[in-house]
Amino acid sequence: MSIATPFHPRTSVLCTSLFWKEWAGHHAVRSYDTHHEPEYFAIRHAAALIDVSPLFKYDVSGPDAAAFLSRVMVRDIRKLKIGRVTYLCWCDDHGKVLDDGTVSRFAEQDFRVTSAEPALAWLSRQAGRFRVTIEDVSERIATLSLQGPRSRDILRDATDADLDALKFFGVTAATLRGIDVRLSRTGYTGDLGYEIWIHRDHALPVWDALMEVGEAHRITPVGLDAMDVSRIEAGFILNGVDYFSAHRCVVESRKSTPYEIGLGWTVNLEREPFVGQEALRLEKARGSRWAKVGLVIDWDEHEALFAKVGLPPQVPSAAWRTAVPVYDTGGRQVGQATSGAWSPTLKQNLALATVEAAYAAPGTALRMEVTVEFQRHRVTAVVTETPFFNPERKRA
C-alpha cells in the first residue's frame, strides 16, 4: 500500500475529487477537482504548486563525488559548475538506459541525483573504491514544484533568494520564512518554474507560506494529470511509459540506448571510461535502430473520421499512455506512439513516438492508429521537432 507524502495533510483536504494515483509508492493527486483543465491552465498562466515528493533523491558527496558521478552518468559531471543542475540519463554496461534524471552540484564535493526509480543499490554497486558516500534522502527531502509564469514573483515575495541570478537549470540555497530550502530552476512542464527542496519537518510551513504569498498571483494546487499534458507539450519523455528501464525489461528488444530515446545530446562520449561507454561508442558509429520523435496528428483527417460516423471530433480529455502502432505511408509498422495529449494551447493533437531511425526526420509523414466508434483507422501524423510548446519565459 502507498504511503503519504509530507504534504498529505494539505493535499488530502484540497483534493475534493478524491482522484489519486500511486507514484513511487506514494499517494499522489491526479487532479484536485474533477477536471484537470483549470490546473493545466494554472501551469501555463499563473502558478501551479505540485507535490513531487515521490521523486527518488540521492545525495552523493566526498572527494571523489564528481569523478564517481562522471563514471556512472553519461555526462561528464566534473564539468558541472557549482550551483548548476544538469539533465541526463544513465545506462547499464550495454549502453541501455536505466533511468533519466538530474544531477545538481551544491558544492565542490556535494551533489544530488534525482531519479524516477530507486537507484541506491545500483549507485552503491558502482561506488567501488571511489571515496564517496551515497545517501538516500528520498524520504527526508520533500519536494514541491512551483511552475508557471508567476512562479518567480511568488518566490521573490516568499524567499530571500537572488532570483535574477538563478538562471535556467541553476540551483541555490535560500531561506523561506526562516526555513532553509534549496531552489532549483527546473521542472517537468516546459514553463518558467522552480523546484523547492525542503526537509520534511518543514514541509507544511513551506506549503502554507507559498499558498499564502501565491494567492495574489493566483497560485493553484495542481495534480499529475495537468502536469502530464504540459510535459507532452514540452516533449519530455517518461520512464516506464515512453521507454523502459533496462533493469525492468524481460526482453532485450524493450531496452533503449540514450540515442534511441532522444537523449543522445546528454552523452559525453570522448572522455575517461564510464558505464556503457563502449557500447554507446559502437552505437554512435553504427547508427541507432530507433528514434524518439514528436508527432502532430493531422486534425482535418481526425475530424473527417468522426464526421463520417456523424460525430463531432473528439480528443481524449487527459494525456494517454497506452501505446498505439505507427505505420509508414505504405502501411508497414515502423514503431509506436507511446503517449500523447490534446494540447489546449496549441490546439493540436500531439504524441511522442518511437520510430525506426529512417523515419525520424522532421516533416516525415507517418500514419498513426486511432479508434473511432470502436473501429480502427489510421491518420496522418507528421514528425515534428520537440518541444512542441516552448515559451520564451522558460529561459528568460
Binding site: D33, T34, H35, E37, P38, F41, R44, H45, A46, P149, R150, D153, E215, A216, H217, R218, W299, E303, G310, L311, P312, P313, V315, S317, W342, P344, T345, L346, K347, Q348, F389
Partner: protein, 537 residues
C-alpha cells in the same frame, strides 16, 4: 516584432488591408503566408479594433471591448502558429447567476456539479439539461460546417428557404426528423420560447436566454434569438473544447499574435494611418488615399471595416449602384450595448455566494428573470438605456493575473441595453454617460455590496464611444446584427456575401461578412482563402 506607426515603407503592394482589427490581421497573415506583399493600415495607435488590450490605468491592462474569446477558429491558431506568437487562451469554467432573493446558480464544466445546482431549482430540469446540451451540440455540429466555409451559393437556396438556414438544412436532411423540426424552431423562435419547450425553471432559463440577445437590438422574447443560443454550444465541440476563454494578456493578445504572425510572414502593419478613401481608376480599385493625403497603390484592397464605413465611407455613395445603396441602408447596425470597465482593489464579493472561488472565474450573468430582461429591453425600445440592465461580467484577473498588479482585479461589465439611438439623439450620449455608468454600478452594488468603494479606476463606454473611438458604426459590436436576415448569403447584402464587393478589386473581410461578429477570425480567414483562389491577388 511590432507594428510601426506612421507611413508605409513602400508605395505599392499586392494587397492593402484597411483596418487592423483581428479580422483584418487574420486576412493579412494568410495573404502574406501565401507570398503576397501585404500592407495593413490601422487608424488607431494600437492594432486590434474591438479585440484590443490597453493599459488604461497604470498596471491594469483592460480588454477594453471584447472580453471573452468565443469561437476563435482553432485552425487559425494552428495554421498561423499563434501559440508561437504568444497566444494562449484559458477556457471559462463556469457561468454564475446570482439572484436578488439571495439564491444563485452556477453551471460548470463538471456535469454532476451542474446537475446538483440545477436540481436545487428543478429536479426535472436537472435531468433535461444534459439532453438539451446533447441536442444543441448535434445542431451546433452542423452549424460549425457553416462558419468554417464561405456561405452557400444563394442561387440554389431561395431566400424563402431561410427556415432551413441554407446549408444547415441541407446537412440536416441526412438526419432524423425530430432534429430537423427542432432546427426550424431554433431558427424562428425566441430564445425564451425555445427554452420554454425544455425547461420549467426560470432561474435556469433566463441566464441561458441571455446569450441569445448579446449584440442585438432584440429581447429574449423576440423571434430569431434562439438561433444565437447555438453559438454557445459551438464553442464546445470545436476540437478546441470549450473554446470560450480569456486570452492571456487580454483579448488584444489575439490581435497581437495575429500581427506578429503576419509580420513574420512579411506583411507590414502600420498604425496611426487612417484611410480616407479608396482610390478608384475607371471604376476599378487601384489603392487607397490616407487621411494625410498619401496615396498607396495596390492590386486589391480588402476592407475590414463595417459595411457602412466601407461603402459610404471609403467608396462613397456616388460610386455605388443605387440598388446596392438601398439594400445597404436596410442593413441593421443599431448598436444596443455598452461597457463598464473597472479596476478594483479587491475581489468583488457576491452576497448570494461569497468568496473568490471557481464560481466567479467564468462569466457572471445578471439576469434574474424574463420580466427583468423584457423591462430592460422596453427601456431601449423607447429610446433610453436600461435602468436595470442585463449584464455579463468577467473578472479575468482571477485566472490571468498578468493583467493587474498582484491582489488587484479587473471587472469587465458588458451591458445591455444601451441603444445608440436614444430619444435625445446619439450625439447626446456623452451627457448621459455618467448616468448610464451609475445605473450599471447601482444595479451591481445590490449583488456585490462594497463594489463601488473598491473602485480604483472606471471607464464607461457608450455606443457613441464605440463609434467614435473604435470605428463601429452606430456602436454595433458585430458590424451589423447577427439576425437571421443578415446572415449567411445575406451578409452584408444578397449577392455580395462571398467577400467580393460590387467594386472591382475591393474585397471585404470584417465582421460584416459571413459568418459575422465575435472574435472568431473566420471572416478574415475565409476572405483570404477565397481571395487567393479567385485570382484577383
Amino acid at each position: 516584432m511590432a507594428a510601426a506607426a506612421g507611413t508605409p515603407a513602400k508605395s505599392t503592394y499586392d494587397v492593402i488591408v484597411v483596418g487592423g482589427g483581428h479580422n483584418g490581421l487574420t486576412c493579412a497573415a494568410y495573404l502574406a503566408k501565401a507570398g503576397r506583399k501585404v500592407l495593413v493600415l490601422e487608424r488607431r495607435h494600437v492594432v486590434g479594433g474591438a479585440a484590443v488590450s490597453e493599459e488604461l490605468h497604470p498596471g491594469f491592462t483592460f480588454s477594453v471591448c471584447s472580453y471573452i474569446v468565443s469561437l476563435f477558429r482553432p485552425q487559425i491558431i494552428r495554421e498561423l502558429e499563434l501559440a508561437r506568437h504568444g497566444l494562449e487562451i484559458i477556457p471559462l469554467e463556469s457561468t454564475f447567476t446570482p439572484f436578488p432573493d439571495g439564491r444563485s446558480l452556477a453551471r460548470w464544466a463538471d456535469p454532476e456539479r451542474t446537475r446538483r445546482e440545477i436540481a436545487a431549482f428543478s429536479p426535472k430540469d436537472a435531468d433535461v439539461y444534459p439532453e438539451f446540451g446533447l441536442t444543441m451540440s448535434r445542431l451546433a455540429h452542423f452549424a460549425k460546417h457553416i462558419i468554417d466555409r464561405p456561405p452557400p451559393d444563394p442561387t440554389s437556396f431561395a431566400p424563402s428557404d431561410l427556415l432551413q438556414l441554407g446549408a444547415i438544412g441541407s446537412l440536416l436532411r441526412g438526419t432524423d426528423r425530430d432534429l430537423r423540426f427542432l432546427n426550424t424552431k431554433l431558427m424562428t423562435m425566441s430564445a425564451a420560447d425555445f427554452l420554454d419547450l425544455w425547461f420549467e425553471s426560470e432561474h435556469l432559463k433566463t441566464p441561458m436566454s441571455a446569450s441569445g440577445i448579446i449584440g442585438t437590438f432584440l429581447g429574449v422574447r423576440s423571434p430569431g434569438t434562439a438561433y444565437v443560443l447555438l453559438h454557445h454550444y459551438m464553442g464546445e465541440i470545436d476540437g478546441a473544447y470549450r473554446a470560450w476563454g480569456f486570452a492571456k494578456g487580454g483579448t488584444g493578445a489575439v490581435s497581437e499574435a495575429l500581427a506578429s504572425s503576419a509580420i513574420a510572414h512579411g506583411a507590414e502593419v502600420v498604425t496611426e494611418a487612417p484611410v480616407q478613401a479608396l482610390r478608384l481608376t475607371d471604376g476599378r480599385t487601384t489603392g487607397v488615399v490616407l487621411e494625410n493625403g498619401t496615396e498607396i497603390g495596390a492590386k486589391v484592397v480588402v476592407s475590414s471595416l463595417d459595411p457602412h464605413r466601407t461603402f459610404f465611407g471609403l467608396v462613397g455613395e456616388r460610386n455605388l449602384d443605387p440598388a446596392f445603396v438601398s439594400q445597404l441602408r436596410k442593413f441593421k447596425l443599431r448598436g444596443s450595448s455598452g461597457k463598464v470597465n473597472l479596476a478594483v482593489d479587491r475581489v468583488p464579493e457576491f452576497t448570494a455566494r461569497p468568496g473568490d472561488g471557481m464560481h466567479i472565474r467564468g462569466d457572471i450573468s445578471i439576469s434574474p428573470d424574463f420580466e427583468y430582461m423584457e423591462r430592460a429591453y422596453d427601456d431601449a425600445k423607447y429610446g433610453a438605456f436600461s435602468r436595470r440592465p442585463y449584464m455579463n461580467i468577467v473578472i479575468p484577473t482571477l485566472t490571468d493575473p498578468s493583467v493587474a498588479p498582484p491582489g488587484k482585479h479587473i471587472v469587465s461589465i458588458f451591458v445591455q441595453y444601451a441603444p445608440y439611438h436614444i430619444t435625445e439623439g446619439p450625439e447626446r450620449w456623452p451627457e448621459q454617460r455618467d448616468a448610464f455608468g451609475d445605473a450599471v454600478l447601482d444595479t451591481l452594488e445590490a449583488y456585490c455590496p462594497g463594489l463601488k468603494s473598491s473602485i480604483l479606476f472606471k471607464q464607461v463606454l457608450t455606443p457613441w464611444d464605440l463609434e467614435k473611438d473604435f470605428g463601429l458604426t452606430e456602436g454595433n459590436i458585430f458590424h451589423g446584427e447577427l439576425s437571421l436576415e443578415q446572415l449567411l448569403f445575406l451578409r452584408p447584402t444578397a449577392g455580395w456575401s462571398r467577400y467580393r464587393t460590387p467594386i472591382d478589386r475591393l474585397w471585404a473581410c470584417g465582421s460584416g461578412t459571413h459568418p459575422g461578429g465575435g472574435v472568431m477570425g473566420a471572416p478574415g480567414e475565409l476572405a483570404a482563402k477565397t481571395l487567393l483562389r479567385s485570382g484577383d491577388a
